[in-house]
């Protein structure tokens, strides 16, 4: 039922809001437009655009979908089609400040990767796909991070951490929290 409600909300937000302020600012739009010269079609700039938007805004909201569609001469449905397929983009909630992707594929699983995922679930009190209430950590499982030589591995935002143990995870979470405090946000 809640899913149904969510979809209904989507429909409303996909309709146009003439007075609303745009989600994508001028700088972001120019960055997306800079990709257009690389490809003979505008649609080819879609994945780079989705990456840019998620990187800046930590999510690709339905309003952002509509604006990207406008920018690339697509329908919102076409943007939604691609976005939904990749499953990597967050639509209804913002990605946490730190996204922890824990590998659960064979090489990591053989060396305890799934235990680490469970450990993180308990420690952060969330399930894969969810974000902590303070917006600091998003937990995701990953299929093969390509770090089998240092299994089990976790990708934290853009940094790969290999040969992980529960103790190392404790240290990692502490240092990430400290990093956030140091940044003063």
């Amino acid at each position: 039922m809640s899913q149904f409600k969510e979809h209904a909300a989507d429909e409303r937000s996909l309709a146009s809001h003439p007075g609303a302020a745009p989600v994508l600012d001028g700088a972001l739009r120019r960055e997306i437009e800079a990709y257009l010269s690389r490809y003979p079609t505008k649609r080819a700039a879609l994945l780079p655009a989705l990456h840019l938007v998620q990187e800046r805004l930590r999510q690709v909201s339905p309003a952002a979908v509509r604006e990207i569609a406008c920018l690339l001469d697509l329908s919102p449905a076409q943007v939604q089609d691609t976005l939904g397929f990749y499953g990597f983009f967050k639509q209804h909630e913002r990605l946490g400040r730190f996204c922890l992707r824990v590998c659960r594929s064979l090489s990591c699983a053989a060396r305890g990767g799934e235990d680490l995922l469970e450990y993180l679930c308990r420690k952060l009190d969330i399930r894969p796909g969810q974000t902590t209430a303070d917006g600091l950590f998003t937990l995701e499982f990953a299929e093969c991070l390509g770090a089998c030589d240092m299994a089990p591995a976790i990708l934290v935002n853009d940094t790969l951490h290999g040969n992980m143990t529960k103790e190392k995870i404790d240290d990692l979470l502490k240092s990430l929290a400290a990093e956030k405090d140091a940044a003063g946000t």
Binding site: L47, D81, G87, L106, S107, A110, A151
Partner: protein, 447 residues
């Protein structure tokens, strides 16, 4: 005489990823020579003569693939570097791009010259952020040094290279899936023919090659065809369709070994030697039980089959799909094969793109059957049911567009064939009262 690494020769150097270090080691001399002395056709002939086969998993002869491009096409012709390495157990492209991006790039520039491509896209999976940064830095250095851009090194060959970032989807590594992804669509593989060499990216002729293949191209240009053919395994004399397995190969070794890592050896090294000599044996003093030979898709071999040579044809003789990516995952004697099977089926159920019904449904049902077995409600006939799925999904039985389903099927088939006893034991132990509850369904006959 011990084998001296060639593809990995650079990576132990300090700042191996910079142009300065790469050039000091003789980098881009091959490109200079090619642009000055060879025509594109000469390069294609050289690569064809070397017998180089694609390192990404399908092992298709690279020169032959290039020769499928239409002659005298007005252009543009596109070139894609497949750096969407997502096969479980596989990580050698990551090592190459992180530590020797210029070797990959030089191979790509030479290949673009050979195929007359004017634009190249390097499709890097999202999970490799360091590769992305290192490759982008390498591309920037190349533009500054005149190895990329207009009239490269004073020739009339011009090339632009762009990086393209994936978004966490396995199927983007399938070459037509990769093309669809660059076009901004869901990465649904296309029906072939037409092959990408005829009609690919933006409906123009397109070549898609793997990262390691391009590094081999660069080495063949530098060292010659005779060097390349002196390594590896010659074709079987009794099999006219076997083009042989020539050249060096990067083998990724992971799982329950003492020294996991990326190792270079000529094709044809046995699994046992790779594990013992390079990997330092099985960890914690245990024995091996099984190994994946070339990425999860290729299936498993038992310890008794560890003397299988890792070349393009030998793994098929022990029931595997092929050499795949050449990345071996070793499982020790304590690792339950039911967990292996569950892990494999979960991966493919998650990664099936949903385009073809047999794959979309088959991978999910296989997962649900395994979930039931693991929940203690397994039946012996479930193994037959899994086998039936394993035998009916994929290109080989002719029910899907791409090979993902074959990749899902082979771990199922090989595990049940080689470890049926252990799996039955597990079902009997976890479901002592119900394991014989139902009879197997009548097998589908196909008529």
């Amino acid at each position: 005489m011990p084998y001296e690494p060639v593809l990995l020769a650079n990576i132990s150097k300090k700042e191996s990823y910079t142009l300065r270090v790469y050039e000091a080691g003789g980098g881009y001399r091959g490109l200079r020579r090619v642009l000055k002395e060879l025509s594109p056709r000469d390069v294609v002939e050289m690569i064809t003569a070397s017998g180089l086969r694609g390192r990404g998993g399908a092992a298709f002869p690279t020169g032959v693939k290039w020769s499928f491009l239409p002659k005298d096409h007005p252009g543009p012709i596109y070139f894609c570097v497949n750096a969407d390495e997502s096969e479980p157990g596989t990580f050698v492209n990551r090592i190459q791009m992180e530590f020797d991006p210029h070797q990959v790039l030089e191979g790509a520039i030479i290949s673009c010259y050979a195929t007359r491509a004017s634009k190249a896209f390097i499709y890097i999976r999202y999970e490799y952020p360091l590769c992305y940064r290192r490759m982008q830095a390498a591309v920037n250095e190349c533009y500054a040094a005149g190895y990329l851009g207009k009239n490269i090194l004073g020739s009339n060959f011009s090339l632009d290279v762009y990086l393209y970032r994936g978004a966490g989807v396995y199927i983007c590594g399938e070459e037509t899936g990769l093309i669809e992804s660059i076009e901004g669509r869901r990465a649904w593989p296309r029906i072939k023919p037409p092959f990408p060499a005829v009609e690919g990216l933006f409906r123009k002729p397109t070549i898609v090659n793997n990262v390691e293949t391009l590094a081999c191209v660069k080495q063949i240009v530098d060292r010659g065809v005779a060097w390349f053919r002196s390594l590896g395994v010659p074709p079987e004399p009794n099999n006219p369709r076997d083009p042989g397995s020539f050249g060096p190969k990067l083998f990724g070794l992971s799982g329950h070994v003492n020294r996991p890592g990326c190792y270079e050896a000529p094709l044809g090294i046995t699994v046992r030697r790779l594990v013992e000599h390079y990997g330092g044996g099985v960890w914690q003093g245990r024995k091996a039980k099984a190994a994946v030979v070339g990425g999860l898709s290729t299936g498993v071999i038992s310890e008794a089959e560890f003397d299988t040579p890792l070349d393009f044809s030998a793994p098929q003789r022990v029931g595997c799909l092929g050499l795949g990516t050449g990345c071996v995952v070793v499982l020790d004697e304590t690792f339950p094969m039911i967990d292996f099977l569950y892990n494999s089926c979960r991966f493919f159920a998650h990664e099936s793109c949903g385009q073809c019904t047999p794959c979309r449904e088959g991978t999910r049902w296989a997962l649900r059957i395994l979930e039931r077995i693991k929940a203690g409600r397994g039946r012996l006939c479930d193994l037959d049911l899994l086998m039936e799925i394993g035998l009916t999904i994929g290109i080989t039985p002719g029910t899907t567009i791409c090979g993902l389903a074959d990749g899902a099927a082979w771990p199922i088939q090989t595990t049940i064939r080689k470890f049926r006893g252990e799996l039955e034991e597990y079902i009997k132990k976890t479901n002592p009262h119900g394991y014989r509850e139902t009879k197997p369904l009548p097998a589908m006959t196909g008529d």
